[in-house]
Symmetry: C2
Subunit: 488 residues, 2 copies
């Protein structure tokens, strides 16, 4: 082992956010993760040798190592050399500068990995501290220290606690306050049954599960200390709602990860009795057992202890997540639908949104969750479909289109293919004209730091009349804009 | 030389966004830049040995090398291995997937260095392409390629052109469209005289100068091609206004950089006749000449050619920018004001915003531009000041406070000190109670990728009654919130 082979070396060099050329042990850990990913791909019924998947094990290994590099970083090394002498007030008549002058950094974007299911989660971090002893820390170090702990397998409250206690012990200020707003992607099963809950308090606009936590040290330990008002006021200037934070002063009763509330006993590696219905779940198959073992070895390769209490069920949960995206050529029928002319319905007054151009039928914002085949990470968003009805005015019901979107989404995919497949299938039964627009966020791009949280992709497919009649296409695109503008 | 010394090595290792341990030539280039920065610090009247500045040369060198690493990256290396076979439509009845299915990535955040003045500028980049030949490129590569060209000394139109032509030649699609929205920080002189222009079309909310550009290749060369409508429509879904982009189809007549429109002939290294007023500017002093030479050597160390047409005046312009922040203990008087009780004015009905608590006077959103002494990069934002008037109801006029903010801002600074100094000075003449809040964006944090564009810092100083009366403080903070909420 010892040295990187050519393919590895090329990848390392060309990767703008790559790790420094690895030491022997890092190369070893990369190879271990790669082997594990190959097991996972096999378990999903995929051929790891096919073009799109060839480099997936290496990409996954690199992303995971980069996303957990916090295990190898020391706060002391970051803060050391960045503590600067800074005077307080000469007369001591108040709080300012290096003696009591509150410092806040707001809206630090971070990404972490959920210790319950291994999926990345997104964090908006706000840090405040009260300088003491006539010294301040370089402002960028507050983000750096937060990033060290984010780049580990985490859970929101522990992450907040680790950031605040690390800043307290390394800077030795009068106090530290940390507030995190965290977003966790839904699992496909929860996404599907909750797709109408997008305006509920715990589900943000993009269907992510949200949790706000809080941690403090020093003077901030006293909830009634006046510095609290200052910290919360400075957050409020940026639209960060303090009342919401207040509601989370008491930690949630159970883990926030959606996988924790699901019955995944069939993946647990042994039979278990489901406490809610008393049924005994079957033992997992050999494929699943080896997938779980592979994920356990990945966790070990990252330097974590898979037997740590919080990580015990993690491999099962990650495998449970992945098997949602298992390949099957027969699923389309087994899924309970087989799109054909039988699924066409006579047009009715309710049911379908119709544009001004009477014959174009539109179904907007059909949610989907898919898995990027290049990085084994989710991408998710919405699908907009427009089509001309049949001459007899037949249409496809929204629930059928949603199933279609689900079917093509719920596997290892690329967004361009997903867009084409949905369009082709609709066109196969209503062969007049189809347009499909897919809008998505790719966690693989966001969590690797290539793009920021706000970025998104869009792809389009045009068939039949939509590819030849610009007016029809323009009308459909305007319908989406109008729908978005009215908060549809 | 050849090897990094201990201090350098520590910095490299502890820096999460640092460069890989350098080769000999990289170490050499780092040292050259460090030497140049020491010359600049001397020229600014600073002691490079003082605590806050000790590591500034190394920090500047690292940030510059990282910000211009695009010179060493090749697009071919990035795209190679990320071109994936992807089918188009079977029947060819339209555009989808690897044959004609439009792909767009929106809202890619980038940072670049202005070739006219060496200051970083911020970019929101949107890329679209039409796959051809039944293959697509990994979505993240669109951002990566854009980043390669952003990390050089640039100008918006050339940057857009380089991105589109690089994508065209490496992916060989049917066409590429690139749209950039760029923001350039104001120079202090333009910032000051234009502080009322914040709602004008070319100046965004934070006082940055904005430019939108456009570039295309292949089918997008035809402005009337239907794909244009699709690209613009998909941008519009994210609120990106196509009409604004349309307005920039014709490139601007002159460079967008504010330094280009200023008379900086006195920094040019030789006497010049100002074309507008015919005056002969004096020769620059020896200090300025050596600063200009130092910047020229920095540009060379980055691998650029200082004699390239667009770069010829750049060292002078950068030195002109820097000398805004020259240290002087006497400036306060020379600046035209010397805050004393003479500057107090009897309270008048107009002039000053007054809160419900009659005796607290507030001046909100006083703009400032300062220079981070740790990274020699600007930080800028607004200052909010609250104070109790004298017993005789005397107040300080807004223009005096703005001068005060300008005076303490316009030097090598840290935000905590700026906050304290403003508070102390106001307190020295109105010794009852003062509160100062400074809100800022630090380009040093944003351009080095430590935080995202949306992040910001806030610092606070409390003197006298504001440190002892929570009610007064709370009222002042509420006033800011209210002012922000109403768009003040």
């Amino acid at each position: 082992m010892g040295a990187l082979d050519d393919a590895h070396l090329d990848e390392e060099l060309q990767d703008a956010v790559g790790l420094e050329p690895g030491s022997g042990s890092e190369t070893l850990s990369t190879c271990e993760i790669e082997d594990a990913v190959k097991v996972l791909l096999h378990g999903l019924g995929e051929d790891p040798g096919r073009e799109g998947l060839k480099k997936t094990p290496l990409r996954v290994a690199k992303a995971l190592r980069d996303g957990t590099r916090g295990y190898k970083q020391k706060v002391k090394d970051i803060v050391q050399g960045a503590l600067f002498p800074e005077a307080g007030l000469e007369n001591g008549m108040g709080c300012a500068g290096g003696a009591g002058g509150l410092v806040v950094v707001r809206d630090i974007d971070l990404f972490s990995y959920c210790e319950s299911c291994l999926l990345p989660f997104s964090i908006q971090c706000h840090v405040g501290y009260i300088p003491s002893g006539e010294r301040v820390v370089g402002l960028s170090k507050l983000s750096r220290v937060a990033d060290v702990f984010a780049r580990r397998l985490q859970e929101p409250q522990r992450l907040a606690d680790e950031i605040s206690s690390a800043l307290q012990s390394s800077i030795k200020p009068a106090g530290v306050a940390v507030s995190l707003q965290c977003w966790h992607i839904q699992f496909p099963e929860t996404l599907r049954c909750k797709s109408n809950l997008r305006h509920s308090s715990k589900l943000d606009m993009q269907g992510w599960f949200k949790e706000s936590v809080f941690s403090s040290s020093g003077v901030f330990k006293d909830e009634n200390h006046p510095f609290w008002d200052d910290f919360l006021a400075l957050l409020k200037f940026k639209g960060i709602d303090m009342e919401e934070i207040d509601a989370y002063h008491s930690p949630p009763a159970q883990s926030w990860c959606p996988s924790r509330s699901m019955d995944i006993s069939s993946c647990n590696g042994h039979s278990t009795r489901n406490p809610t219905n008393g049924k005994v779940s079957p033992k997992p198959g050999a494929a699943q057992t080896s997938m779980i073992a592979a994920v356990t070895s990945m966790i070990e390769a990252l330097g974590e202890d898979p037997s740590r209490k919080e990580l015990v069920g993690t491999p099962s949960r990650f495998v449970h997540w992945l098997t949602n995206f298992k390949r099957s050529n027969f699923e389309m029928k087994l899924n309970g639908f087989n799109l054909s002319r039988n699924d066409l319905h006579a047009k009715t007054a309710n049911g379908v949104a119709v544009t001004e151009l009477n014959e174009i039928h539109t179904e907007l914002n059909l949610p989907f969750c898919s898995q990027c085949e290049h990085h084994l990470l989710p991408f998710h968003g919405v699908v907009h479909i427009g089509y001309f009805g049949s001459d007899e005015g037949e249409i496809i019901q929204r629930c059928i289109l949603q199933s279609l979107v689900h079917f093509y989404g719920i596997k290892l995919q690329v967004q361009e293919r997903l867009t084409r497949q949905i369009a082709e299938t609709v066109y196969s039964v209503l062969g007049t004209g189809v347009i499909v627009v897919v809008e998505a966020s790719h966690i693989c791009m966001i969590s690797r730091g290539i793009e920021k949280v706000g970025s998104s992709t869009a792809t389009m497919a045009l068939l039949g009349r939509f590819s030849t009649e610009p007016k029809a296409k323009a009308m459909f695109l305007r319908t989406i804009s109008k729908h978005n503008a009215t908060g549809g």
